[in-house]
């Protein structure tokens, strides 16, 4: 790890100021991904501003039935907070499907949003990667791409976003609250992470120096009927090959409303709106779920080693919807 300057923030504004003023400064909270990347020589900040002790860890109810999760809340705390697990069990399940007990105790919610891809080419500076070094080329396209994207990729980058939490947040229409040098703003979840396009080096639409302060979850009464399904080789402690967050409003045998998001398939948590369109108003049965799954993957494109992901994702969608639909299906 290269040397760096360390500062600790006790006020968000000061932290924002410090990082904004220095191009290669970074915030550090849990450190579970950043330090890993620094040890690997991928992230090379000159300054770390420690935001772990900022008073941004509260989880509170919002007036209209939503919930606000402070960015410094630990993944384990957020997962098990009564407001989260009662109103948004799919989010609790997603949190608990990710990483391990130790890492969830350390990782912050804000940091989870900022997780970077686990593409092995990105992680090793000895190999070319457009995300790490724009213009150097994407080694994964012609290389070993079993874990890579089947949706929304570009020739510049076929990496996937690794987070489980974010898949549930995508399904729940979360809003990311940030504080920057020019004040605060809100970013709808869909606009937070980016597709790679020609700028794969940019994972998110966050500007340098902007600090995530909270994630707001809007009220979604039917979110209780939901399921997070994660498919992986190992039974635990592994990133998803494919994951699905499914939230269904079913009554009278019909789907009234639906939210479906996918993980492990794209550069960002993938909201499957085509699937939702098919689901809404249709009979809550396996045939509908299959059609929805087909629609979700209709634009998929596979590479040499990840063809299986398309079929696996479809099957996972069907299973997640069937599980979420429960007896109402």
């Amino acid at each position: 790890m290269k040397p760096f300057v360390y500062s600790r923030a006790t006020e968000a504004a000061a932290a924002v100021r410090q990082v904004s003023n220095e191009r290669s400064a970074k915030f550090i909270a849990g450190g579970t991904n950043l330090l890993d990347l620094m040890k690997s020589g991928v992230e090379l900040p000159d300054r770390l501003v420690d935001i772990a002790r900022l008073p941004l860890a509260e989880i509170t109810a919002l007036p209209q039935g939503g919930v606000r999760i402070g960015a410094m809340a630990r993944n384990s705390t957020a997962a098990n907070h009564p407001l989260v697990r009662e109103r948004y069990p799919v989010l609790t399940q997603a949190f608990l499907a990710g990483a391990t007990g130790q890492i969830r105790n350390m990782a912050s919610v804000g940091g989870n949003l900022m997780q970077r891809t686990r593409c092995p080419y990105f992680y090793d500076p000895a190999m070319r990667c457009n995300k790490r070094e724009p213009g150097s080329g994407c080694s994964a396209v012609e290389g070993f791409n079993r874990i890579h994207a089947v949706l929304g990729a570009s020739e510049q980058c076929i990496a996937v976003h690794p987070s489980d939490m974010c898949v549930a947040l995508a399904a729940l229409d979360a809003v990311v609250r940030v504080q920057g040098p020019e004040g605060e703003r809100e970013i709808p979840f869909d606009d937070f992470h980016r597709l790679p396009g020609d700028t794969p080096q940019q994972d998110t639409n966050l500007r340098h120096g902007e600090l995530i302060t909270a994630v707001d979850l809007p009220a979604l009464p039917f979110a209780k009927r939901s399921h997070y399904l994660k498919v992986r080789d190992r039974a635990s402690y592994e990133f998803a090959l494919v994951s699905v967050a499914a939230v269904l409003d079913v009554s009278g045998g019909r789907v009234r409303d639906a939210r479906v998001a996918l993980g492990g398939v794209a550069h960002k948590p993938w909201r499957a709106r085509e699937a939702e369109k098919i689901l809404t108003g249709a009979r809550a049965n396996e045939e509908t779920y299959r059609k929805a799954a087909e629609a979700a993957l209709s634009g998929a494109r596979a590479y040499k080693h990840n063809t299986f992901k398309i079929e696996l994702a479809k099957r996972a969608i069907v299973r997640a919807l069937s599980t979420a639909g429960g007896s109402g299906a």
Binding site: M1, K2, P3, F4, V5, Y6, S7, R8, A9, T10, E11, A13, A14, A15, Q18, I28, G30, G31, T32, L35, D36, M38, K39, S40, D46, L48, V49, D50, A52, S76, A79, N80, R85, E86, P89, T92, Q93, L96, A97, A99, T100, G101, Q102, I103, N105, M106, A235, S236, Y237
Partner: protein, 260 residues
């Protein structure tokens, strides 16, 4: 190769007297390079002469003062940021197993390396250094955490417990005793992490947390109802290549009724 070798001790002494050997940590007074030092000696040297003096002397006086971080950080009450010195060492006060350790380390030093290489607390092990194995697991304020992905400088004021701090004197913690009884280890390298993890995990269960295998996350298991499947999932952050997993599950099962 033989001809260019002089006695290592002699050579070292010469270079020391020329002042061109920089030492981080305790300057060895005993010239025998291979002498194993007792833990007590090692600690005494590191804390009294080593880190404090050597590193502090590298800093200009006014910066050394600014760089110090006393327990509880009263110095920061008025400042939103505390500034440290690039590429230099910062002073950190770590509370580990009930004892305070003052040391100076570069900000890039992890809690794991601070403990292992500077404080001779070698129970926590380095298996991967990237948060992929769990061998470095310790308890931070009672919660299990990975010391390889923690910067030492970020830990001041926190209560850190390693496997060395778990037994009550000669009396083993029930998790430790159960690990022996159930043969929950073979080579023992992952064991300190497994034990810290198990203790932290049982506390998480007692606090009513759910896991990935909990059927209804709103109804998490209690210590009494904790199933083997729950133990397996919750202990999956600790790799054991000898693969003592079934016995680790048995040990946690045995210990869970006794004390958390």
């Amino acid at each position: 190769m033989e001809d260019d070798i002089r006695d290592a001790d002699q050579e070292l002494d010469e270079r020391r007297s020329q002042g061109n050997v920089s030492l981080d940590g305790g300057e060895a007074e005993d010239s025998s390079p291979t002498k194993e030092v007792s833990r007590r000696d090692f600690l005494a040297r590191t804390t009294l002469t080593g880190a404090g003096l050597t590193i502090a002397s590298l800093l200009p006086a006014h910066l050394a003062a600014a760089a110090s971080l006393p327990d509880g950080m009263p110095a920061e009450a008025n400042a939103a940021l505390s500034e440290f010195i690039k590429e230099g060492a910062v002073k950190v006060s770590l509370r580990i197993n009930g004892a305070r350790h003052a040391l100076s380390v570069e900000p890039r030093v992890t809690l794991l390396d601070a403990m292992r290489e500077r404080l001779d607390i070698t129970g926590p092990k380095k298996g991967c250094d990237h948060g992929q194995c769990g061998a470095c697991t310790v308890l931070v304020d009672g919660q299990r955490a990975l010391s390889c992905l923690s910067l030492a400088v970020m830990q001041d004021g926190k209560e850190i417990t390693t496997v060395e701090g778990i037994a009550l004197g000669d009396e083993l913690h029930p998790v430790q005793a159960a690990f022996i009884e159930q043969d929950a280890f073979q080579c023992g390298y992952c064991t300190s992490g497994q034990i810290c993890s198990a203790i932290g995990m049982l506390r998480e269960v007692a606090e009513g947390t759910a896991s990935h295998v909990t059927p209804d996350v709103a109804a998490p298991p209690t210590l009494a109802t904790l199933s083997d499947a729950e133990i397996r999932e919750r202990m999956s952050g600790n790799l054991c290549r000898c693969s003592a997993y079934p016995n680790i599950v048995a040990a946690v099962r045995e210990a869970k009724g006794q004390r958390v």
